[in-house]
Symmetry: D2
Subunit: 332 residues, 4 copies
């Protein structure tokens, strides 16, 4: 499934080198003002070409509204948005067809879809699809901001260095790619979002977060550090009737439910699978392992593009829960 | 929602100190032999009283079959199983009603349900409910074992110590509780389980895993260590046509899809929120922060009980995907 | 799936001659007073033995609350309710095993579940399961009544006779079973329930209604009579700002959405498949068509039991929509 | 929700006078050959301008593939298809804004979406959206035909006349619109599709069918006629091991499950709400009931366009069940 959400639900589609990528949002509240301009900043944040370490591919990523918006506002009907793929170079990819790139979905997709998958540039598995998540995030964040809820993701480290440039320098020096840590903090949340067990906030957030390619781990609050803490140390003492706690080791979620403190979590982004360096993989035609290197444009560190995507999926989950919990109206 | 799964779907119910806890499994293949005996070992693994560090509460946790089993086999109709609550001491809990225990759902549940929640012993939020997950896991693991798929979880460390006894000793010495790390490895999986984006294996596994109380983080394969690896180092080179890779930094999932290697992930379990030590929390009647300590039986380290629960939710997700992907039949 | 609903969701389980039947309701608002007494009237309405034409089977159908109710009120956690099966005579059924009863699920269930199904008394396919629907309906109707919404089903005709006794007399005279028409009217609904296309009120109501065994047709408002009406005749003229219409040919739903008038629909219930009369069917052991007659207790007219079940599924759907549309609170 | 299906799932979007309408199909098996040509015949069947009684609006309804198709075959990734809206005349509609047209969603949509809905030509509620259903149906029918399953819908009567021309003549003579009856027959189905209770074939088919605007009733097999039949008369005697029955009063579904006979049902389509004749409705600005007549192009009898749409939703449900029941592969 390429869809997620109970009330505020998104469906994505598209391939890296196909005609376009896009999304449909079903269940968006009616009456939200929405224009192309609302999307530009976040799409820019996600784009390559800004920072050292991201790919020089230039995309004119203008969201094209196809439905659900009328007189500059959402109507309550499904919102379809698409993004054209204008700047693709498929020939770079086709020659590697018989050699599944390590770390990419080439091998698994080939097996799963019987060789019918669109393999050009990763096809449907491409990071290109994250522009659809970003677009949904713009809408979700705009809805949340009307309730004074702010979602903010930041890079915590690249290649182990809190200084981003220093981290990227490692990649450049090694002619390789590097990974990173990204955190996400949401403030202004009401107490009571999330449900016990299978719809816990951690369950839903992690479900959505692992939809982002290259994410391999998530931790809430103190996270893995809790393994070496004592109970009295980890427990967050409640200080007043608003639920404000002295510490926030829980990351703002207790019993699967928001407790009125900041929702905070961290993720790890693996190093970009495509690197300039020579690698080995099986050639499934010759059935021999061969060496090869990947040409073309690729990010040294995909983590740099992730913060805005992380905000997007977080906002999407929280909007859904706000609607479900009736803390956000279905018509503005 | 207290339900999860698309084809193999479970619904849980019950409270720690209510009449019973239980589960309904909808979509279980017909024809699987099933008896009470199948459940005993895993229920025993989950129970307190075995190891130092787990609570002395004795529960006669015999699964009572209410439907869906006929002549010793599953029928294809919903399987209802319940567990009676025989050994509960509610009075221990009621006196703390006005003081939400830090780290527990007392405060969040109170707000979410307007004070109507069953607060005795954590009510529906209690770890007691994990016996329902374990029961579903027994069925799912039995189904998977017919396909030579084995799910095995292990404690990796307690309080930072690979030696469990040493870790527990820390808790005893400090008169406090401690956390731990648990890993889960599944072997024998076919290539091709999981779907791109929102139903990635990582998305579904993490969704289910965060339904287990006290879990605060998850990482697949190299996990957070990937943050400081180079791409060529992290990439798992494919060695032969079965998809066998030289390393398994991806944890057996690439592009959200199983790649034929072991599915491997680690989780962190926070220290038990209830500890023998004095703590502070708000009294919501007096509106003042007061000191209190929790009497009664409690685990020094809840992580000790988690492996069998982790296996259960993992098996549940994988069974669902096996059915969806038509690699497991709906009638045996 | 034996589950239905998005926010207010029910899961049913059980077999006619198994240990019990029951249901779990997930997503019920917290704080609704609920006692066994609330259920007695509707369970009585559904029971046999009251009217000529219904089976003499006596069932002590007391709902046993297993979870989700505390201090006499719903808690917001899943509500599990069981009904024990005390009065079953399986031996009546087993001798017919090789001869699938026409009109029953014997043949289809046998094929679908590879012979593993519980065939005693129809097993999971039995009308016995409708007691679970009735129980969910009691809760849903109680919730709706707090919003002045009333759901009322009535028998319109039996065997074509508006006089019920006359209709049943036809069955008795023919030593056969008969069908009937039942209608359901809901008053007090707000404008705006239901969603365009796949979650239209007609879609959801009919989905739930066809879960009731023996229902073979449904029509909203003028229904099939609309086939011979002119547009200006069928259209309901809006008379005032509340949406009150001069006629109600639409049955209270326009564009899939409630329009503030009574929701009205009719269903047809086929004659009971089991009749005292001799019938023919294939013996799947001898592979020959043979004559047989069904002994034991059976309803002459199952339609007599349907009104309370119809109210139940209608109330269930409407409660779900009221919650989704935020016209009913999640905590009372 | 504008989405439906569990494995083979469709999401629709668009408005009558917006930029476009379209659909996304998630879960379509990989490897199905698919070209624009596959769609032309069914889109033509749905179009106006062919038969007396349908609107003269000319639409160049060419499906534009946006994703999920590569080298002429489905890839297993979501299939997005758009239809441009080229030939719209919004000005015809805007002048009626304050007077909700009886029988249309104008009033209900206005209330539900707080006046934010796109009201031009019915907006998202327009019959225009059925082209999306038709497109999904083309794909589903092509999948089913590989299993020798054929879905065929026919007009049974218009305005009560089995002769279509005679029925339409009634409308023309009265300068009004008329309704009709449409039936749908599916042959070649395996035994065992559908699930007990909430996912009965009748539940799923009716759910999907009532997503078609103007449908107000559905009956399976003998349908409403069963109300006056005896049990022995209605029961379909099984004749051989394939499940072939002597009669087909059940419409091919027993216990919610297909029995190997033709799936057969009938629906009623109400007369087109827009008619050339003068009507009355409330003007919600003046709050007075006023007379008005609807100009512009409109169908005399919308039922004429329905057969191909009915086939489409039927095929969609059956494809979903074939996949779920593992009788259709996920990769061709």
């Amino acid at each position: 499934m390429n869809a997620f959400g109970r009330v505020f639900r998104m469906q994505i589609f598209g391939e890296s080198h196909g005609a376009s990528v896009g999304l449909v949002i079903d269940g968006c509240p009616a009456g939200l003002p929405l224009s192309q301009e609302d999307f530009l900043k976040d799409i820019e944040r996600r784009k390559g070409g800004i920072q050292k370490g991201t790919t020089p591919r230039k995309e004119d990523d203008l969201p094209i509204f196809k439905s659900g918006i009328f007189n500059g506002k959402t109507t309550g009907a499904p919102i379809a948005i698409f993004f054209e793929n204008n700047n693709t170079k498929s020939q770079d990819y086709e020659k590697h067809r018989a050699v599944p790139r390590p770390g990419h979905a080439d091998f698994t997709a080939h097996h799963k879809y019987g060789g019918h998958e669109d393999f050009r540039g990763g096809g449907h598995f491409s990071g290109r699809l994250t522009v659809c998540l970003v677009a949904a995030g713009v809408i979700a964040k705009k809805l949340l901001s009307q309730h004074q809820i702010q979602v903010q993701a930041n890079i915590e480290s690249i290649a182990g260095e809190p200084d981003i440039e220093a981290g990227l320098q490692k990649a450049i020096a090694a002619k390789d790619s590097v990974g990173g840590i990204v955190s996400c903090r949401t403030s202004g949340l009401p107490i009571g979002l999330g449900e016990h067990f299978f719809d816990s906030v951690e369950s839903l957030i992690s479900h959505a977060v692992f939809a982002i390619p290259a994410v391999k781990g998530i931790e809430f609050g103190a996270g893995f550090a809790a393994a070496t803490m004592f109970g009295t140390e980890h427990n967050d003492a409640i200080m007043d009737a608003t639920g404000k706690t002295k510490t926030n080791h829980s990351g703002g979620v207790v019993g699967g439910i928001t407790n009125g403190n900041d929702l905070f979590y961290r993720i790890v982004v693996k190093p970009t699978s495509s690197t300039p360096k020579e690698q080995s993989s099986l050639n499934w035609e010759t059935n021999e392992v061969e060496k090869f290197s990947i040409k073309g444009r690729h990010d040294l560190c995909i983590a740099l593009r992730v913060p805005v995507v992380l905000e997007a999926v977080t906002a999407m989950v929280l909007t859904d829960l706000m609607l479900l919990e009736q803390k956000m109206k279905r018509t503005i």
